[in-house]
Symmetry: C3
Subunit: 349 residues, 3 copies
């Protein structure tokens, strides 16, 4: 009997199956420092306990995307070790805030399966969630991945494709209970723009670019205990499709979010990710730029403050974003586009 795990193949999944993911993780101020150092994150609620307390938090919460990366990393060994492609996210909802000292675990349930016609792969839909040490959900989301089959002769299960929400509805967004916007200091937050200053259709070029180094994305993915082989093994990847290690897609999301501070400094919380596509792989040496479009201005039920903005943030490689690159004339993504992320942030009114 071999002691090592080769990960699950398409045949190993069944609808309704529960997956308990290994290795609980206590997060700490050390993780926060590394996250700052990897992306240059400057959002004040996450950067300062004083600022966080003044608006109603007990402490500075962890960056929402750091929570996402840690929960996501836990799901890799059971869900996507044999993935051919990470296809998408839906209905991602950030719930209880996470503070240094919290311990996170993750679980997933298989909610859909569909074999591909080539007989070599199939799509697996999982609903995953991250939970803290008191049992509160900190994050839940649906992800679907293309997973390899163990053999061409494997079974073809009855296709089950779950209904996926187009976006997380306002009523399902988690707003910090104690939030009080009168404690918000717009001098210290970096910009004066509030919820009402953003107009649907408005586009923002985040101006700056950030070049990725191999050591950086490896350090990031390991911090998240992500075990996906393609990020770490040059000896193997040099024979692979790209000849190089592939940067964890979440690394690009965090870079784009960090760059978006310039123009969205007061967007203090990612409340939801409605949809997201990694439209091209990123590699060390790429310089990531980003721009955003305001998709919708959302009032939160029963709350005067904060408000929500639904945003699209697009990340590119080696292409400044003053012209807001997205799609070519034929409707496909422009080659320079790495990420098309549809998400919802909270921002003071």
């Amino acid at each position: 009997m071999t002691k090592t795990s080769a990960g699950n193949f398409f045949e190993d999944f069944s609808v309704g199956q529960d997956l308990v993911h290994a290795v609980p993780r206590t997060v700490s101020a050390g993780d926060v420092s590394l996250y700052t150092a990897l992306y240059g994150m400057r959002f004040p609620v996450q950067s300062s306990t004083e600022f966080a307390r003044r608006i109603g938090y007990a402490d500075a919460p962890l960056d929402d995307l750091l929570v996402f990366h840690i929960v996501f990393g836990k799901t890799v060994p059971e869900v996507s070790l044999n993935a051919a492609a990470n296809l998408g996210y839906a209905g991602m909802r950030f719930a209880a805030p996470v503070f240094p000292g919290d311990t996170l675990t993750a679980r997933s349930t298989v909610i859909g399966l569909k074999e591909n016609s080539n007989g070599k792969t199939g799509t697996v839909y999982v609903r995953s969630s991250g939970v803290n040490q008191t049992g509160q959900t900190v994050l839940e989301y649906v992800r679907w991945v293309m997973v390899k089959k163990r053999s061409l002769d494997g079974h073809a299960p009855e296709p089950v494709v779950p209904d996926l929400p187009e976006a997380v509805p306002a009523a399902n967004l988690t707003v910090p209970e104690a939030f009080h916007g009168d404690g918000w200091d717009f001098d210290l937050s970096g910009e004066l723009h509030r919820w009402g200053d953003y107009e649907p259709g408005e586009k923002i070029d985040h101006v700056d670019g950030m070049t990725i180094e191999e050591a950086e994305h490896q350090i990031a993915a390991r911090l998240y205990q992500n075990t996906s082989k393609v990020h770490f093994n040059q000896h193997q990847e040099k024979e692979g499709r790209f000849g190089r290690r592939i940067v964890y897609g979440g690394h690009v999301i965090s870079l784009a979010r960090a760059l978006s501070f310039n123009g969205l400094a007061n967007a203090f919380r990612v409340a939801a990710v409605n949809a997201g596509s990694h439209t091209a792989p990123a590699f060390a040496g790429d310089t990531v730029y980003a721009w955003s479009e305001v998709l919708e201005r959302i009032e939160l039920p029963g709350r005067d403050d904060p408000g929500a903005l639904r945003l699209r943030t697009v990340a590119t490689k080696d292409m400044p974003c003053s012209s807001f690159p997205l799609r070519a004339a034929d409707g496909t993504y422009e080659k320079a586009v790495l990420l098309d992320l549809d998400y919802t942030v909270l921002i003071p009114r």
Copy 2:
């Protein structure tokens, strides 16, 4: 209206203007670990809570230069985003020690302005300070930078050039109140040399060299939330003056200070920076060496212990320092010289 900031140009500054810098920062043990990992810092007061307590500190304070980098980083968006050159520092005084858990904010006042004769740039003098969550000053200094003008037609303000001190006087150095040198363990600190063992004119070759990697200086500058574009964007810098990303000058200061442990192990606190010049840019791949000269042995008013040493520390690239390289025959800095720093340290008597 654009939501992003392009930073201030020379025309945007006026003498007496107050600048509140954004993004308060709570420092933590995570920052300390990263700082150690980036420079190999070994000064025992900063490395050990036990050592720090034995000489009168409540806890191990953060490295003074880490405090400087964080405060400096906050000033970049308003002061030097459009800088053509960082010209100098004066009168830098480290005041209240900073401990993990403290929250730092920064402010600046414009104290001088002088347009250059070419009409394209001007010098801006600011007095900046870092303050902790109880309002104590942790650091203050004057910096002057050459800032680009928005247009050639801009106004030429009345030149105001502030009087700058040649050095921070002994009476203005902050000595930790509770310091008691009888708690100092010279076995654990690494060297036996005390204040009285250093002679003005004495030169010390710090022997070792440390090679800079792109990932390292980027991680450092982001840890400090420094937003200066030239450190991070290879896509843009490859078209720039050097064809490469420029290492944050403060990174070289910290490398030099870390190397200086070999010969100055008991110099436990940077109390002041009297003057400093980044005489050449540093790039990834450069190996930094350093040497120091004792400029002055200073008794601290009203205290038997510690004493102060005024030092010059010179950092070079790709040149060992056994011959103490500094200036060429024509009086200009030798090409290998990166940094000429005049500063004052505290050391047990």
Copy 3:
């Protein structure tokens, strides 16, 4: 008098000599985060305070190898700054667990000396130990290194070669007093394999590979305050034997241990290192793989739970380990082999 230390040469050592190593180090959650980020460590006892408490620890202890690296780093300035080779380890015993907030110091005693026949070098045997702030030993081990002589005319001391144990006996292994295996959650730990599932002679291929970057091994070695020149100075090493910086051998040990999680997920503590050889140098760009062999299944005196496994873990470069590479036909190590480590782990029964 020069203020800097050139380190000890062979002539500077004498049997019975005590060496107090400088710079006490308070360890923190920041060190834990960096350690996770450098190796992708996933052992649950070190990753989660909740998991650690459930099996009897007061808190999540630091990874044993992180403790080793910090203690080892302290010994470098006095023991191996002028080493020509790190020859071996014996009798390494991990004692009291180390928690964030503990302060570590190190001492060594010279227990053996033997000049080499070439008159240029000699072997120095030291017994080193790490101690926490309450005086408890956290680690002790014997190391021997080949150290350069200052001159060919130096004295040739009476050779003293200590008796070294072939392995740390079961009775000398430290088992956490309060350990109770009923708190062990095999779903959360990642694998179901217990002590009794491992058979002597069994070999495990740990499958994955991890590529080393210059920034990573430098960051690691500096985190450990290791001052060995060969890891950091490309300007000097480009003229050296390999033309490149040499990766700290302990970095390879930690990579191998992290990779071994796949197959040894429940091996929650390194209790001893019986012997270890760095059989070839590692460099940036190398991809490290690993495999393990179960050497012995050990019952711990007076305890039902946990048990111990004596393991050999072999690390290779640029060579997957499905064929368990070790020695060539002539008995020498295969070229790809970097590390041959004989050690003892604790694992629930």
